[in-house]
Amino acid sequence: MNAQKENFLLAVEGLTVSFDGFKAVDDLSFYLDPKEIRVIIGPNGAGKTTVLDLICGKTRATAGSIRFGGKELTKMKEHQIVHAGVGRKFQNPSVFEDLTVFENLEVSYPQGHTVMGALAFKRDAAVVEAVESIAETIFLSDQLNEPAGLLSHGQKQWLEIGMLLIQKPDLLMLDEPVAGMSVAERKKTAELLRVITRDHTVLVIEHDMQFVGDIADRVTVMHQGKVLSEGSIEHVKQDPKVIEVYLGH
């Protein structure tokens, strides 16, 4: 196992976090290969979102390790984790409503991240090109100069995904990317994710089993902070433990 470790993009081992004695994540281990699409499913309160919080540094682990491309993330600050190549989308779309779509993407562009850098930052051709190309990917080319606050719910979700893409992360973490979307938006998002997954490692939390089946290489089922089952979508669907706690009802 140890010899293989270096090949994993992300290795989570023995990860535990306890909130006042309640273990939201309990001795969790899983591994992601480069370019893998992994979906985490599980009932409410299983600790799915907490796992993403732990990886991106929003919540601090009580014990365990998260190794990402040879770096230990549990000791790093949030912005350092981003610079290491981890991008995270939140469940509720969090975009900058007072800024335009263009500015939202520009702020996420990986350059000028220090105070002085942000003062000296110039909107050059490379920036404009990157923003426009991402805007096209996320279907927002026509909204570039609109304030993000005026976008629909689905468009905000796309914008936030675009804000991650422009950072060029090695690992993308998406928390319920199609929640609250219309059927049409869902279809477009699936299309978008298929494009994204061509050249990123992606970790997704999702409830929609149809959607999960469409995109996942492997599925991790969580229950009460632990891994209940792991494998292909067919494998977990037939796992009696999974059927009992999750898929059965």
Partner: protein, 389 residues
């Protein structure tokens, strides 16, 4: 936002607003007002520096500081210390038991100039200290608070406490600071009598010049990517953090910027008014500065300037006729702003006057070709709590 040349900028909508303010401050007011009234306008303008700082810090970045009086006061005290030392020559103070030290020290049985007063013999040191001392204190507070993720209402309360502490400290250390009376009886700046009408008018123009310089610096920050990050932080602090920014360092920066601007204002206040006292440091002046900023429009730099001018003019007018009523009027004004027009005068202007501009002959058409830069975001209800969940 993109301007190719200064001339192009001056003929844009934004440039015209700056020109109108310059016209008012440089031409109209000096022609209309006698030196006494002009000096008062100069005094109001020193508060505009603090208001500009608050627009950046509170309006843009969402960090409400109720302690800007601290930085205003520190800048003012630095200047006052220099002027006091200049006024306390051995000849001028030969009747004291220790000639050559400021009079209030002598009254408090201090026989030697304290060490921290020594550097204020130098004018260049003083000019640096006017900005550096407030910025340094803001830096220490900022690092201590923002790195620990203290924000919103908690931060506001802490800044207010600091304002109270500094006032108490100044009043308590009478021998070192002049106590409750402050540092008074300031006469000359490098041998130049600052009490003549001519000097006061000159200082007024210096003040206006520095105000425009400060406006341009603040505008530069606002229009750089840094400015957009500040606004982004106000909306979604976490999203900024998880876009790879160290949010705390940006907050420290903007808080230091606001402190430095307030410090410049304080120094100019001392020069134009001729004394500095703890009554310009404490909680009340700090909150008044927030009112100037809120009334003018906390998202608009020029709004901050007009807010400082109008509220202070109203204060003087009111206090001259009904001194006891002013605090109530001030309170009513603040409540009115919060309830009725949370974006202040700048917001009112954008909403009601800007649409009328089109009807003007010539000018309307001219302004119309120039898209208005949306400064104020949609009305937000959480006016006082800068914190968002």
């Amino acid at each position: 936002m993109k301007t190719n040349s200064p001339l192009q900028w001056l003929t844009s909508r934004e440039g015209i607003y700056y020109l109108l303010l310059a016209l008012l401050l440089v031409v109209v007011l000096p022609l209309l007002l006698d030196p006494f009234r002009l000096n008062m306008v100069g005094k109001y303008l020193t508060y505009a520096f603090a208001a500009i700082g608050l627009v950046m810090c509170w309006g843009k970045a969402g960090i409400l500081s109720l302690g800007q009086g601290v930085f205003f006061g520190l800048g003012g005290y630095c200047m006052a210390m220099f002027l006091k030392l200049e006024a306390s020559t051995p000849e001028a103070t030969k009747n004291q038991s220790t000639p050559g030290i400021p009079d209030f020290m002598d009254w408090n049985q201090i026989t030697e100039l304290p060490g921290f007063w020594q550097p204020f013999h130098s004018f260049s040191f003083t000019l640096i200290a006017v900005i550096a001392v407030p910025v340094l204190l803001a830096f220490i507070i900022g690092v201590a608070m923002f790195k620990r993720r203290v924000g919103g209402v908690y931060f506001a309360i802490i800044t207010q406490a600091i304002a109270a502490i500094l006032t108490i400290l100044i009043i308590g250390q009478q021998g070192l600071t002049g106590g409750v009376n402050g540092i008074t009886d300031l006469q000359t700046l490098m041998g130049w009598n600052i009490r003549t009408d001519m000097a006061k008018t000159t200082l007024y123009f210096v003040c206006v010049g520095l105000l425009f310089l400060s406006l341009l610096v603040a505008r530069h920050v606002q229009n750089a990517k840094l400015g957009r990050i500040l606004v982004a932080m106000r909306d979604q602090e976490n999203r900024v953090r998880f876009s790879g920014y160290d949010v705390a360092s940006f907050k420290v920066f903007v808080f230091c910027l606001a402190a430095g601007l307030a410090g410049i204002g304080g120094a100019l206040f001392t020069l134009q008014v001729g004394f500095m006292s703890p009554s310009f440091v404490g909680i009340v002046p700090s909150i008044e500065m927030v009112v100037f900023c809120a009334l003018g429009g906390r998202y608009s730099l020029l709004g901050g300037v007009y807010g400082a001018l109008l509220v202070n003019a109203a204060k003087s007018g009111f206090s001259e006729s009904f001194p006891e009523l002013w605090p109530y009027a001030m309170g009513a004004l603040f409540i009115g702003v919060v309830l009725a027009f949370p974006n202040g005068l700048a917001g009112l202007y954008e909403r009601y006057i800007m649409p009328l501009e089109k009807r003007l002959p010539v000018i309307g058409k001219y302004l119309d070709k120039d898209k208005p830069a949306p400064q104020a975001p949609p009305v937000v209800s959480d006016q006082l709590s800068a914190e968002k969940p």
